[in-house]
């Protein structure tokens, strides 16, 4: 009966759009799946997201964005994480990301991209099967 460690997930909203309903739905679904979800709120800069991921020792970072600035902000989040030596986290994204951008977002390092209408169970499964195991 050693303590089984819950997966720690940081959910953040980069950029200036203020609607976080989707982010909250995902946060809640992951909690109900037994994960510890750190929710940072809206209007986060890439620096804030990376620093929060570091301090919280999150294994997974999920970003929700509706503003269309994903190709601007996502690479900067990845860069800020890298600068801090946080390079073993699973990244996924949600919100409004046009089909033609999905491959680009994946190339930036976001393994999962979940648009509107995604079944939260798919996200849970994705996180559970891809989250890095911590020693």
């Amino acid at each position: 009966m050693t303590n089984e460690r819950p997966i720690r997930v940081l959910i953040a909203k980069p950029g200036l759009d203020g609607h976080d309903r989707g982010a909250k739905v995902v946060a809640r679904a992951l909690r109900d799946a037994g994960m510890e979800v750190i929710y940072t709120g809206i209007r986060q800069t890439p620096q804030m997201i990376a620093e929060a991921a570091l301090q919280e020792d999150a294994q997974v970072v999920g970003l929700s964005i509706l503003s269309g600035a994903h190709l601007e902000l996502f690479p900067r989040v990845v860069e800020e994480l890298r600068q801090r030596g946080v390079d073993d986290v699973l990244l996924f994204a949600g919100g409004i990301i046009p089909k033609e951008d999905i491959t680009k977002v994946q190339e930036i390092g976001f393994q999962g991209v979940f648009g509107p209408g995604t079944n939260t169970n798919d996200i849970i499964e994705f996180v559970k099967s891809h989250a890095p195991v911590r020693a």
Binding site: M1, T2, N3, R5, P6, R8, A27, R28, L30, R31, D32, A33, G34, M35, E36, V37, I38, Y39, T40, G41, R43, Q44, T45, Q47, M48, E51, A52, L54, Q55, E56, D57, R84, G85, V86, D87, D88, P132, R134, A135
Partner: protein
């Protein structure tokens, strides 16, 4: 840098002492999960603790604790002190998951290199929350922060214990936040060294102060009389006064002739609690491993036996297993 996941305890300790935040974050996870490496790190760092002012902030849900902790941290930063924060939120009793939202009220602090904020879920582990949180506080203390703040909901013994393990415990209440019997019920008055009526811009804050004064008048106070302060954390009103009061109490702690006694009492409590949790875990491991529990469960479920005598039998079975394994 995948090898970072596998840093040894001495490596982690060196990096924490050198101020590496990533190592600190990782070590906190290990302490929280009570892994062998986590224990080794704790043991190695413990002699370095004792530098930080430790402050416990507690109060009912919605009292404004997170906002107040944020304001407190900002004021401490103004005074040139570095700040570590441990914000404890409850785990869901159903899924064991948690939503940890304290960062929302402290967003600006994330960009401050002199602040380290860690959210922690209560995880409902066997009476171990207080010990785990204390372990995390110790790690932050050893990492060199001048002030370490721990924030918990003031409901339930475990959560209250976390706040009281700190040197100075601050209780946050609100105007109209229930009558004095509510505070007495929770036993919170007895554990706090500073009382704060937060959201003092709302009507009824003077009444709240009067009620708290009346409660204190009948309390069994020691050498320290808890000051009652008014604050509006959202605007920062009253926060410098709170920091002053905390400083005064910390001075009192160190100058008090009972300081040594209090440290001993706290140490005793910690050792006993950790031993109890460990005993609990080990006994249950044996109990689950043997078939004894299942048989007893059947007997009690069928009402052939009562739960208490079944528990005694289970304990006897555990003792026999232990004796046999020696």
């Amino acid at each position: 840098m995948a090898q970072q996941t596998a840093l040894s305890a001495p490596e982690l300790v060196d990096r924490i002492v050198a101020g590496e935040r990533r190592a600190l974050a990782r070590a906190i996870s290990l302490v929280e999960a009570d892994t062998p490496t986590g224990r080794e790190v704790q043991a190695a760092l413990y002699p370095r603790t004792g530098h930080a002012q430790t402050i416990g902030i507690t109060g009912s849900a919605g009292a404004g604790k997170s906002t107040l902790v944020g304001a407190l941290a900002r004021e401490e930063r103004k005074r040139g002190r570095t700040v570590g924060i441990v914000a404890v939120d409850p785990s869901s009793p159903f899924s064991h998951g948690a939503i940890l939202g304290d960062r929302i009220r402290m967003q600006d602090l994330t960009s401050d290199g002199g602040v380290f904020l860690r959210s922690m879920a209560s995880r409902g582990n066997l009476g171990g929350l207080s010990e785990t949180a204390t372990g995390v506080i110790d790690v932050m203390d050893a990492a060199g922060f001048d002030v370490v703040i721990v924030e918990t909901v003031g409901a339930g013994q475990d959560e209250v214990e976390v706040a009281t393990a700190a040197g100075t415990t601050v209780l946050i209440t609100n105007p109209g936040g229930g009558d004095e019997i509510q505070s007495m019920k929770a036993g919170l008055m007895e554990v706090a060294q500073i009382l704060v009526v937060n959201k003092a811009d709302l009507a009824g804050s003077d009444t709240a102060v009067t009620q708290l004064k009346a409660l204190l008048a009948i309390a069994d106070l020691g050498a320290w009389t808890p000051p009652i302060l008014k604050a509006t954390a959202k605007t920062g009103e009253g926060i410098p006064e709170l920091v002053d009061a905390i400083d005064r109490h910390q001075e009192h702690l160190h100058s008090s002739e009972h300081a040594e006694d209090e440290r001993r009492a706290l140490s005793r409590k910690q050792i006993v609690a950790l031993a109890r949790a460990s005993l609990h875990r080990q006994a249950l491991e044996v109990a689950h491993g043997s078939g004894a529990l299942d048989d007893l469960v059947s007997a009690v479920a069928a009402r052939r036996r009562d739960p208490r005598s079944a528990a005694e039998s289970l304990l006897e079975a555990v003792k026999r297993e232990w004796a046999a394994s020696e």
